[in-house]
Amino acid sequence: MTEHVSLTVNGIGREVDVEPRRLLVQLLREELDLTGTHVGCDTSQCGACTVTMDGRAVKSCTVLAVQADGANVTTIEGVAKAGAMHPLQSAFWEKHGLQCGFCTPGMIMAAMDLLDRVSDPSDEEIRHAIEGNICRCTGYHNIVLAIREAARTLRTGETASAGGVS
């Protein structure tokens, strides 16, 4: 028994038939081959599966694929436009905001939600905004710097400064 789901993923309309129990993250990874969205826990705790759905960050492991019917979903693969990295991606690279990279797509998508709402977040706001995302590698230090830097770039239009972390 399957249900039909129509949704837009990274700007492209997709039509799929799925079992009702199939999770959005499985739809993205298995049906659509968008494996940049990861699964890190069974309990909605880690945020590795974060995507945006109709513009807001959600944990795609806690959304049924059928619940996403008609939704506009953006995954990490859809963040760069015309081959140019999004300022968040550039800033994570610039500031060494990742190590193993496994939490990174979810972390960037959660940060995207923040920067859509708050243009000049404090470090405290940044840390609060990524509370639903666990990183086991970085201790969050450089992630905070990266999101701070991306916010600056988005505000001022300047690209990230060259060089490593401060």
């Binding site: 009702p20 759905m53 960050a57 959600v58 806690t62 959660a110």
Partner: protein, 282 residues
Amino acid sequence: MIPAAFAYHRPQSLGDALALLSEHGAAAKLLAGGHSLLPLLRLRVASTERIVDIGRLGELKGVRPGADGSLEIGGLTTYSELLAGATMPWVKEAVEGIGDVQVRNRGTVGGAIAHADPASDLPAIALALGGEIVLQSSSGTRTVPVDEFFLGPFETAIRSDEILTSIRFPAQPEGATGAYRRIDQPASGYSLVGVAAVAAMADGRVGHLRVGVTGVGEAAYRARGVESAMGGSDGGTEAVAAAAEHAVDGMEVNSDIHADAAYRSAMARVITIRALEAALGR
């Protein structure tokens, strides 16, 4: 990580949803945002034959402030929507601390209230605000006072053929202010102890006080002992401290790997003091 199979319905109207519920009864589970149900289904500690997805019933969404200062919150309003629409700053501050941004974007007020997790924050806030829960079934609408709604762990006054359509909070008394204070269980983000208080002074005396407590008992409860001890007092530091001694009166206090009953009891008093003092503007 993979739920057991179930059938899926997405009714297009509240009436259709209620008809499905009356047809399938306890064999069907309601899905709103999914943030209470899906984690349990994934771990296979819950299972269901069918899911009735009411997540798109727009009629159940929305924060509707009344002209008299009352507030009605549709059951399908997400935490994020509540943040955008709530009129009371202390409620916003409290909701901002629930879960994480992803959870707040999907999790619904009605879902959390209906799930009645004994450590969930919203029930305590609802108890402090007072008011009533609106329940609909195919045979009609009824309301249950918030005070009579939470019956036990994950148990409420909702019957299996009913949908929680909204929560109505009355206008708060003149000059009333509220506060929510909590201690987290760090792993889950649920509260070890959470206390919500709404207080209003009248003629230098505490004229109105409602205190809701979560995390401590088998369900969220009103700390009536605290309320009566404070009522009519000057609301001063000593009165607050004395009243907080009643924070767990009559309760069998929870004990688990994160906090035993002694700690929860002691913290219920400490957090009650903090919530009261904040509500009283200190």
